[in-house]
Amino acid sequence: MEPRVLANKKEFTFKSFFLQWEWLLVVLILAVSVMNASLSEYFLEYDNLRDATMGFLDKAFIVLPMVFIILMGDIDISVASIVTLSSVIMADLFNHGLPMGWAMVAGLAVGTICGWINGMLVVRFKELSSVIVTLATMIIYRGIAYILLKDQASGKFPDWFQYLGWEYIGGIPFILIAFAVCAIGFGWLLHKTVFGRRVYAIGNNATASRYSGVQVDKIKVLVFTLAGLMSAVTAMFLTSRMGSTRPNIASGYELEVIAMVVLGGISTAGGKGRMIGAILAVFLIGFLRYGLGLVNVSAQMLLIILGLLLILSVAIPQLKQRFASMRRI
């Protein structure tokens, strides 16, 4: 065989660079901003924009690990219940006399354990899809929250606890800073590390990954555990913003989170997509909601708009592909 020399560089084309999904999201965010600014004089005020982020960033913490989960072809619909359970347990322990700091640690631990249980069930029972496993645990976790708190709300947290969700550091909301730190961390984890590369490998071909020495089960459990932990982080911020907790908080968060991840261009089918897409999607949906809220669009219109946006965002790439293949045939 004659030795062959392979080219050293990847071919770079501006077309493929700018045809990336993330650019479309950037354009959409700009379009939404322009629309909002023209509809409402209040939108472009710095204080308002800044405070708006405080309103939608709580669930964004779950978006980060959900990107990993969906990339691996799994899904976790129990995250909202984990938020509730860790919030309720934190509040319950605090009200039973545990210092707030320790109660928070316990809340985070509970979330982590819930995530770990999800992960263990998913890898031990591979014949059940993660939808089913987390559907069941979703009901169970919230069920436990009901058992613990019954019909009570629980609150009366120390003042400093409210800082999490409401305070600013140097004029920037603390929650935004925390999210930025987490987002950079998760982005780094996904795109720069061995761990992230393996997550992509599992998403594309789990069997081949296993045969290549990737510990698929271990990584899956870890990712689900991370999702549990981040759900608990969301629980901290949400509880701080609400000042009290109940067994029915955060209901419906799972679907919103999944919608954001999908809108961010993360595809379950091919293990494709990037963290930045999901983060952009968080801000796109957040600003769209906030802007339409500023002009007091009714809740039902908002539902319809968000539904159509989700459909369109996944339909556009599909249709593009279809047209391309139609031209071929």
Partner: protein
């Protein structure tokens, strides 16, 4: 018994063989799934009966059946969807929008024949289903995403259609309310409609080509394409049927509760999916039986009926339901492992 056919065919008997005895074992295990579910239902019933003697009365059983009817009608459609490896989260919203529109219809034209009201509900459901069918079958959107998006849209439309109002009992003609309360030979109409749907669905999925193709597409989409099955059409059909059944369920729901609201049946899709999963429909596609989902729906129906009757604290109900679902699917998985192992052993003999 190793070489039954080798002499004539000259094929080594190691792989190819008749497995009649082994097959009956695996069949038994297969049936065990449903028998197990039935056994569990009976056990539960006896347990509840001991706590509350009015549980196993004719009246209560008929109540359970009536309350389960709508759930099981939806479960039939959901089973077809899941067999094709899909899922439909929009059914609660579809149910609400078709229920609301047919309620508005009868409140504006009280003279309308109840059958026409049913037809209108089914019609609207069909349209909703068709849209989702198109998105899934031809735009290739993942079912979970397509139905999540359309769920929002349909729910929004329900509110828009009603303008935030409810349609109440006094606005509905008696004939319309009688759809769900009427009886034939002493059996509630809802039960009759549900049974009729089981029968039609059973015939459809086991004795017609279109029905079998649903299984084929779910079992192996690639070979379905190659054997000339237009999987797009099958998918579209499945979501359209689901929509039609949701529409029917919408009318029945509104008629049964004599009230149409914007948030009718929100979150109901999870109960329906749970019924299917309990009934042994595999999310991986290709597997599912009518008898299974009927049992699954009945189990959920009994839980809904029995937990209040045996004075379980309302705060425990959710946990108990979730735990039963989890245990059921885990046992299901373990039994399936048993079946697979059995197949494997058969292979070796």
């Amino acid at each position: 018994m190793k070489r039954q056919i080798t002499e004539s065919a000259g094929v080594p008997g190691a792989q190819i063989n008749i497995g009649k005895p082994a097959r009956s074992v695996s069949e038994m295990i297969g049936k065990f799934r449903e028998l197990g579910l039935l056994g569990f239902i009976l056990l539960l019933s006896v347990g509840v009966q001991l706590r509350n003697p009015s549980f196993l009365t004719w009246e209560n059983i008929s109540d359970i059946a009536t309350n389960t009817a709508i759930l099981s009608i939806l479960a039939v459609g959901m089973m077809l969807v899941i067999i094709t490896r899909g899922i439909d989260l929009s059914i609660g919203a579809t149910l609400a929008v078709s229920g609301m529109i047919s309620a508005l219809l009868v409140s504006h034209y009280p003279g309308i024949h109840p059958l026409l009201a049913i037809a209108s509900g089914i019609g609207i459901g069909l349209i909703c289903g068709m849209v989702i069918g198109c998105l899934v079958a031809w735009v290739n959107i993942l079912p979970i995403i397509a139905t999540l998006g359309m769920m929002n849209v349909y729910r929004g439309l329900t509110f828009e259609a009603s303008g935030g109002k409810w349609v109440s009992a006094h606005q509905m003609p008696t004939g319309f309310k009688a759809i769900a309360t009427g009886t034939l030979f002493g059996v509630n109409n809802l039960i009759l409609i549900a049974v009729a749907i089981y029968i039609v669905a059973y015939y459809f999925i086991s004795h017609t080509r279109s029905g079998r193709r649903i299984y084929a597409v779910g079992s192996n989409p690639d070979s379905a394409t190659i054997s000339g099955i237009r999987s797009g059409r099958v998918l579209w059909l499945v979501y359209t049927i689901m929509g039609g059944l949701s529409g029917l369920a919408g009318v029945l729901w509104v008629s049964k509760f004599a009230s149409a609201q914007g948030d009718t049946a929100s979150g109901y899709e999870l109960s329906v999916i749970a019924a299917c999963v309990l009934g042994g429909v595999s999310i991986a596609g290709g597997v599912g039986k009518i008898s299974g989902i009927v049992l699954g729906s009945v189990l959920l129906g009994i839980l809904n009926n029995a937990l209040p009757m045996i004075d379980v604290s309302p705060f425990w109900q959710m946990f108990i339901q979730g735990t039963i679902i989890l245990i059921a699917v885990l046992i299901n998985a373990l039994v399936k492992r048993g079946i697979d192992r059995n197949h494997l052993m058969r292979r070796k003999i």
